[in-house]
């Protein structure tokens, strides 16, 4: 007479892929925040020129800020650019051409840098630019 032993069923071990996705998301967000924090820290450092007759810049959905900390340190879309040619790469897409570019520049930046940036933007078809001032 055979003896039947009922072993308890073992659960098949598995790894939840959801946790992995969560972790990936958190890491991605963390990286974005780190980059943005660096950018915001830099934006606090700059001294905006003051303007008595300033206008409110109308809010529009597509805006992009170019931050000019000094003549050699320029950020576009939150990322540091190596040369002004990078501006073409960033803004060349069709959807980016309707964008309003906000130029936040330190008051001690050379005019040459500002004009060169404006020229690059105009050449790639961006026609709305605003100088952000402190006043």
């Amino acid at each position: 007479m055979a003896v039947r032993i009922n072993f308890p069923k073992r659960e098949i071990p598995s790894i939840s892929i959801l946790s992995l996705a969560n972790l990936a998301f958190i890491m991605a967000v963390f990286m974005v925040i780190v980059v943005k924090v660096e950018y915001y820290e830099k934006s606090k450092v700059i001294n905006l020129p003051k303007l008595n007759n300033s206008f409110k810049i109308p809010t529009q959905s597509k805006t992009s800020t170019i931050l000019i900390v000094n003549d050699n340190e320029i950020y576009a879309e939150g990322f540091k650019i190596k040369s002004l040619d990078d501006l073409s790469t960033i803004y060349l897409t069709k959807s980016q051409k309707d964008v309003l570019i906000l130029i936040r520049a330190d008051k001690n930046v050379r005019v040459n840098t500002i004009i060169e940036i404006m020229d690059r933007l105009r050449k790639i078809g961006i026609n709305k630019i605003a100088f952000i001032t402190g006043g």
């Binding site: 969560n22 409110k56 005019v111 105009r122 952000i132």
Partner: protein, 165 residues
């Protein structure tokens, strides 16, 4: 023992769900927090495709003022440009201001510019700034120009040039 197991299972699921919800909320909040548009102040320019004058390629509008922005390449010899009837408002690399090539005290610039516009309101203004001057001086020049336009209720054209030496 049975009750204990059930409670443990429920706790675990609850934690897992709340963790996911918290994660998702965190991601959504971060996304919105990083993209909140700020209310900014400044000067707005819009390049217009249609040139104001035949020789002048780019027209801009700035605040209450309208003007023409030259490309960097064209500005190297501003004297060669073929337009006239403008008031020269210059700034050198030391931040000294000149109206019609005469040095002017900072506090007297607005009055000086006004006197020229009262004489002939059809004139334009040509801001000529040295490439090594700081951006602050360009903004100051705009500020004073806009002040003149506001006071006299005029909308003359502004030409902007950069001198390269």
């Amino acid at each position: 023992m049975k009750i204990f197991k059930e409670v443990k299972t429920i706790d675990f699921r609850f934690d897992f769900v709340s963790l996911s919800v918290a994660n998702l909320s965190f991601i959504i909040l971060s996304f919105f927090a990083l993209n909140i548009p700020k209310k900014e102040k400044g000067i707005l320019f819009a390049f217009e495709k249609k040139p104001a004058v035949a020789q002048l390629p780019y027209q801009i509008t700035g605040g209450s003022a309208r003007g023409v922005l030259y490309s960097y390449e064209r500005l190297q010899n501003p004297q060669e440009e073929k337009f006239s009837n403008y008031i020269r408002f210059s700034i050198n690399d030391k931040g000294e201001f000149f109206v019609e090539d005469e040095p002017v005290n900072f506090n007297q610039i607005v009055d000086k510019l006004k006197s020229y516009f009262i004489e002939d309101s059809t004139k334009s203004i040509y801001i000529i700034i040295h490439q090594d001057a700081s951006y602050e001086y360009l903004i100051k020049a705009f500020d004073m120009t806009i002040q003149v336009f506001k006071d006299l209720k005029l909308q003359p054209k502004i030409f902007i040039g950069v001198v390269r030496r």
